[in-house]
Symmetry: C2
Subunit: 120 residues, 2 copies
DNA sequence: ACAAGTACTTACCCGAAAGTATGTATCATG
DNA sequence: CATGATACATACTTTCGGGTAAGTACTTGT
């Protein structure tokens, strides 16, 4: 897990902004290149680690577990490991995570509209 | 304007992801600490540069104009400068920018729900 | 004995985003 | 003639997210 320095303007601003800006709050949970994609793939149901990996060929393993852990910490998904070998680990969305579908849909419909507009 | 190096894995991945992920598309337009706040302040109507600045005490001038220009480039707002001195410049949302209100609302309602859930 | 499969972990590096500090143009006013 | 107001611009530095490459643990199959 990457350590975070506390006393920087960067983080000070981030916190200030977080408290007043729900958009930034959401970004802090699902921002970055990979999180939305992970969530998207889990919207269709629980998946094994290796299944997610297969579904996202461009992500590195480091990034994948890093984000899976962050999403787990943020209570957007849960991890279930069966104590067998080879390991069998599944990830599923929580209530909170599933509710993001509405947000994602709102973003998607704006995005498609905007892409069309800018293409014309 | 910040120059962008083309041949990096980072940007390669970014482009791959952008084409398939509307969420990332939206993020590329309104991501970062400040853009959503700027948009939020403009939702209540056109504002002068100095008014926006006053409304966002923590942002530096560099960040403010940088993001205003990016938002203008992305056609989310328009800039109107009256040729007088001292300068009088106003910023207003475009159609595209105003349509983001729906997205912002979806995000906000999820954020508040999630904040409450995590506080309990 | 050794490779293969699964789900990670760790050390190191690089580039983009954000922040700091200072400078610029124009004119009105004291 | 110098100060203030407005809306920027630019050089430099720090911070953080992301990427590369390699290693780990445990067991089954050959």
């Amino acid at each position: 897990m990457t350590k975070i320095k506390e006393s920087s303007t960067y983080n000070a601003n981030r916190e200030i902004v977080m408290q007043e800006c729900p958009v930034t709050y959401v970004m802090s949970k699902i921002g970055g290149h990979w999180k939305p994609i992970i969530l998207y793939h889990l919207l269709s149901g629980s998946k094994r680690y290796s299944e997610i990996k297969k579904a996202m060929p461009h992500i590195t393993e480091k990034m994948l577990i890093q984000h899976l852990k962050q999403l787990e910490n943020d209570s957007l998904l849960t991890r279930e490991a069966r104590p067998i070998v080879p390991p069998y680990v599944t990830y599923s969305l929580t209530e909170s995570g599933r509710e993001l579908e509405l947000v994602i849909n709102a973003m998607a419909s704006w995005a498609f509209k905007d892409m069309k507009r800018n293409a014309a």
